[in-house]
């Protein structure tokens, strides 16, 4: 069982070499991608217990920053994505400071993050120099690895796979670190944790910064993969929901949660598209039902359920 992650990784590494279908490579790439940004959300939402309904804020900042720097200044997105991450961390610190200093928790925190994301969305829609409601088309340079553009999808596949593995490794380390324990304490009972001497404000802010930066990196990847970003794709509530769905269904606060969730929802999405041809919107409906069901039957996601069974068995 312990070898499972390595086996899966080996399989993931080998698949693009064996499979010809662009569509399958593309689908897997997106699954890894959603797992990656889900992992970003997971740090703040799953581990620190602060559910944000507006994580598209950071995603959009990443996507827009790296794209704008490329379009306006010719800066390669390899560098631009870190600028985006830095900016996202900054915004995360500001919004985090405001939210946590004023004691916003639970629903209020979720909503205020949504409000921040919406402000960015409306601002992006109205500012011509970021492309307005049309957004940004990343100019195509063909196969240009130095500019984070590739003629073959397989490059993107491997890049996001590496990013995902790194993120999972980082989160695993975080889990077992002092910061991780403090985050868990806050998640379980913030007042009690404070009573034990944990500086909740600082811990939450740190979680926010890590979460924001990671999500922004995902945003930059997305912008390069699709060569396109607009205010709705970048900052929209639909995106915020997509980001949090995977870790929640898979199991918030676990390393595997976002991956499980992403494979489940991704597979389901493509499956329904294939089966129910003219009703492709069905998969979103199903996501809604799954979310409701998960909340009742799997309140700790699939991972929580697996662990429970593991304990019993």
């Amino acid at each position: 069982m312990r070898r499972l992650p390595l086996l899966l990784l080996a399989a993931a590494l080998v698949i693009p070499l064996l499979v010809r279908s662009e569509y399958l490579i593309g689908t897997l790439t997106l699954i890894y991608f959603f797992a990656f940004v889900g992992q970003g959300w997971n740090i703040l939402g799953g581990y620190a217990g602060q559910f944000s309904f507006g994580h598209a804020l950071f995603f959009g900042i990443g996507a827009y920053t790296s794209s704008l720097l490329f379009v306006k200044a010719g800066l390669t997105p390899w560098v631009g994505m870190w600028c985006g991450a830095a900016l996202a961390v900054l915004v995360g610190l500001v919004t985090g400071h405001l939210s946590f200093r004023f004691g916003l928790r639970g629903a209020y925190f979720a909503l205020i993050m949504l409000a921040f994301a919406e402000i960015f969305r409306v601002a992006a829609t109205n500012l011509d120099w970021v492309g307005g409601s049309f957004g940004i088309l990343v100019p195509l340079r063909g196969h240009a690895p130095a500019l984070f553009q590739f003629g073959d999808k397989r490059y993107f596949y491997y890049i996001i796979l590496v990013m995902l593995v790194a993120a999972c490794y980082g989160v695993r380390r975080l889990e077992n670190s002092k910061l991780g324990y403090q985050m868990a304490a806050i998640r379980e009972n913030e007042s009690a944790a404070e009573g034990l001497g944990v500086n909740a404000y600082q811990v939450k802010l740190t979680a926010m910064a890590l979460s924001a930066g990671l999500t922004a990196l995902g945003g930059s990847f997305y912008a390069q993969y699709f060569s396109y970003v607009d205010p709705a794709i970048g900052f929209g509530p639909a995106n915020s929901i997509e980001i949090l769905l995977r870790p929640i269904i898979g199991g918030a606060g676990t390393v595997w949660g976002p991956l499980l969730g992403s494979f489940l929802l991704g597979g389901l999405g493509e499956g329904t598209r294939g089966l129910v041809k003219s009703y492709a919107g069905v998969h979103l409906m199903i996501y809604g039902v799954i979310l409701m069901g998960a909340v009742v039957f799997l309140p700790h996601g699939v991972m929580g359920w697996l662990r429970q069974r593991g304990r019993r068995g």
Binding site: E22, L30, F226, R273, S278, A280
Partner: protein, 406 residues
């Protein structure tokens, strides 16, 4: 460069039927034509019209003997739903590429076309657009993108020309123009173009009013139109707000000489007349339309209506036309090689089509002869009023006051 089709066992979730063109044959029995349209999601109505238009054309083409230069090979459509979403649109092109499509038709919307043409260019698959008017689509140096219809800039230019001609011919004393547009790229760029061109026909843009595309209320905007004492109101916006604009102007009794849109969201559409009945009368719109003088057009419209229970709509007309453009190219290429088809498309020279202009492509892939016409709703029917060579009726301007008729 694709010289051998690859045999693909579709992944479990691939939709549509796969043609199996295993090896390049000189005389294939079927030619796989890919199509991506929004069949669900926000643009489903238009996407389905486009799908029907292409299906209608392909049935005609096949019934008429298919592609003669390839031994009567029939066109086989592989239709994929892009759900009105750019990322899904990209995956549809991937699937079409995997399946070996010779060319790609669709995708209706500009936002979708930006990504589908990009993917098609990456995979070197010729892509013939149906609608998708954004100017920038053909400004990226792509060699595999072809657009037979007029783009946004051309539509604005022609409409201004028609307005100018109308003002001259009818000796109208209209001068004050108010532009009202959705605040996205379509609305803004059209308004920019109009602002530049209108002084050229002696008109003043006295107010320019942007509005939020998702708005439910245009009350403030109509108040501003009233305050500006407009002669002509030119909306460039989507269906909902366009309809809302008319209803609000009627309710607030804001009378103007004409409401004349450029690519109006609710313009030149029978469903709008169905929705608002008398309110639609006298509305003018510069938009895509058929050539009323074409000998076969009445028959085509009637046959389409019979097959799909839908009256004329330019969405299906342009899709239908794009299929015929491809057919013509296939005939001349006499090959399913994507590059040969692309070269044939580039050399297109079609006349007497159901669209009111000849079709050829400049080196950007745009048809420079394309144009919009000016239509007016008269007595609940949409008729062409300009230019004179296509006019079916004389325009009624100024339009009668709201009070008397709603």
């Amino acid at each position: 460069m694709i010289t051998r089709r690859e045999f693909v066992k579709g992944a479990a979730a691939v939709t549509g039927s796969l043609g199996f063109p295993a090896v390049l044959r000189a005389q294939p029995k079927e030619i796989l034509v890919g199509e991506t349209h929004p069949l669900t999601g926000g643009l489903a109505r238009e996407g389905n019209l486009g799908k029907n238009g292409i299906e209608f054309a392909v049935n005609e083409i096949n019934a008429g003997g298919g592609i003669r230069s390839m031994g009567g090979a029939k066109l086989k459509l592989m239709v994929l739903d892009n759900e009105s979403k750019p990322p899904v649109a990209i995956s549809t092109i991937e699937k079409l590429k995997d399946a070996g499509a010779v060319a790609i038709l669709g995708p209706y919307a500009s936002g979708l076309a930006f990504v589908t043409t990009q993917e098609a260019e990456k995979y070197k698959i010729p892509h013939v657009l149906d609608v998708a008017i954004a100017d920038q689509i053909t400004e990226r140096g792509f060699k595999y993108t072809f657009r037979a219809c007029p783009n946004a800039g051309m539509g604005a230019t022609h409409t201004v020309d028609y307005l100018g001609a109308m003002a001259r011919d009818l000796k109208l004393s209209v001068k004050r123009v108010v532009l009202i547009h959705e605040d996205g790229i379509f609305g803004k760029s059209t308004a920019d173009t109009l602002q530049k061109l209108l002084p050229g026909i002696g008109m003043d843009v006295v107010e320019r009013i942007p509005h939020s595309a998702a708005t439910q209320s245009l009350a403030n905007e109509v108040l501003r139109i009233k305050a500006a004492k407009a002669d002509i109101v030119i909306p460039s916006t989507y269906y909902g707000p366009h309809s809302l604009l008319l209803r609000t102007m009627a309710e607030q009794r804001v009378d103007v000489a004409a409401i004349l849109s450029v690519y109006g969201g609710a313009g030149s559409q029978y469903r709008f007349i169905k929705d608002v009945a008398k309110l639609a009368d006298y509305m003018m719109d510069g938009n895509h339309w058929y050539n009323p003088k074409h000998p076969r057009i009445k028959g085509i419209i009637a046959a389409f209506e019979k097959a799909y229970q839908h009256p004329f709509a330019y969405e299906w007309m342009l899709a239908y036309q794009s299929a015929y453009v491809l057919k013509d190219a296939l005939e001349r290429a006499a090959s399913t090689d994507r590059d040969k088809v692309r070269d044939a498309l580039a050399a297109t020279n079609l006349k007497d089509q159901i669209v009111p202009y000849p079709i050829a492509f400049n080196d950007k892939g745009q048809n420079p002869h394309a144009r919009t016409l000016l239509m007016q709703v008269l007595d609940q029917k949409i008729v062409v009023v300009y230019p004179n060579e296509f006019a079916e009726a004389k325009p009624v301007i100024p339009m009668p006051a709201w009070a008397g008729r709603v």
